[in-house]
């Protein structure tokens, strides 16, 4: 993703890194992703989805 500038379409605020909570199969996680500081809209890039998130999903499914 590099350092590209992302704006929230609703608030026109620039997204900032923030810890966000996730849940899967009754397990809770949190990680730092880009988020609108005003409305909370989250952005998750494909690298995170295909990497860390997918690996975690697989681990939880195998438990």
């Amino acid at each position: 993703m590099g350092n590209r500038k992302l704006l929230c379409g609703r608030c026109r605020e620039e997204l900032k890194k923030e810890i966000v909570d996730f849940q899967y199969l009754s397990f809770a996680f949190h990680t730092e992703v880009l988020r609108c500081p005003k409305c909370g809209q989250v952005f998750i890039d494909e690298d995170l989805v295909e990497g860390k998130m997918h690996e975690t999903e697989m681990v939880m499914e195998d438990k």
């Binding site: 379409g9 909570d21 996730f22 899967y24 909370g40 809209q41 494909e46 989805v49």
Partner: protein
Amino acid sequence: MKRMFFPGCQLGGSDPEYVTGLYDLLLSLDGSTGIGIGCCGAPAEWAGDREKFLEIRDGIRDLWRKQEQPEIILACPYCYKNFRENMQEIPVKMYFELVEIRLRKHITGTAAVYDPCAMRRFPEIRNRVRRLLEAENISLEELKYSGAKAQCCSWGGHAYTVNPNFVKTQVAEQIAMDENPYITYCINCTDIFRAKGKKVCYLGDLVLGRDTESRNIPTVSNRRENRRKLRRMLVDQYHIADNSPAGCGDRFFLHMSDALKKKLTERLILEEDVIQVIEEAERSGKYIIDVENGHRFAHRKISHMTYWAEYTMDESGGCTLYNAYSHRMMIVNEDKKSWETENSSAEDAGKS
């Protein structure tokens, strides 16, 4: 009704004209033949959803009883296995077991019959396929793993959802068993092998006088649309009552590259799900803008999945899709901030 054609869920998904072509053929043999489209329940069984599987099985049994217990004519090897093992009171045949069935398209050269995994326990079906081909001027080879040792093409068990890497290896091993073209009689084996470049001749095409190689290989979204198209064709051409719920209609057109179409199919992302994401984003304004190129990113949770779309809206009202991906993990309290803001504002207003 003495016979009812039950083509299963994938044949019409691959190409609705297989279903209507075979149904026309069956009608020419017995004009009272009925048709029922739907799923035999195998995918629910593969998913371990026993309750859903039993619900589907009981629905088929009810339909069969209401239709005066006709002989069920099948086109899918896994439907056949499922009926034989789980609905033993229902008499079934594969369509090509009917004595009147002949091949209308003729092939030459050397080929190998690829038995689907569902046929391991049914030598009579496997033999019938070979007998049909005996009259052809072809040299038939037997694969290392065929008959009772037939392997899975990779479709079964939802392997493509759970372990895409396994699927790649499995397909590669299957198509490498023989360099000659395969003659298949399962539409899933057919489409999977063709997608990887294997020359395949589908028995249904030989029966209908068609050329397998001239058919488009359906994407995952094509499959969904083909099933809708089949439903419309059955209603229009055969005046069959449509009792199924209405699907979503055409909305806006999604432009994308062939490479992205391929990716969506590999990741099992339906175009209609992507359209839902974009429609909701455009309606609510909830999307993210990449300042550099103007692309918008939007996401939406649909059932258990969260889908992401990277797109731009066209002046024509259509949409260009640049990327799409999905995850099963849920984002928690995404809108909490706006909720807190609204509530704190209300509280502040109450205090003043």
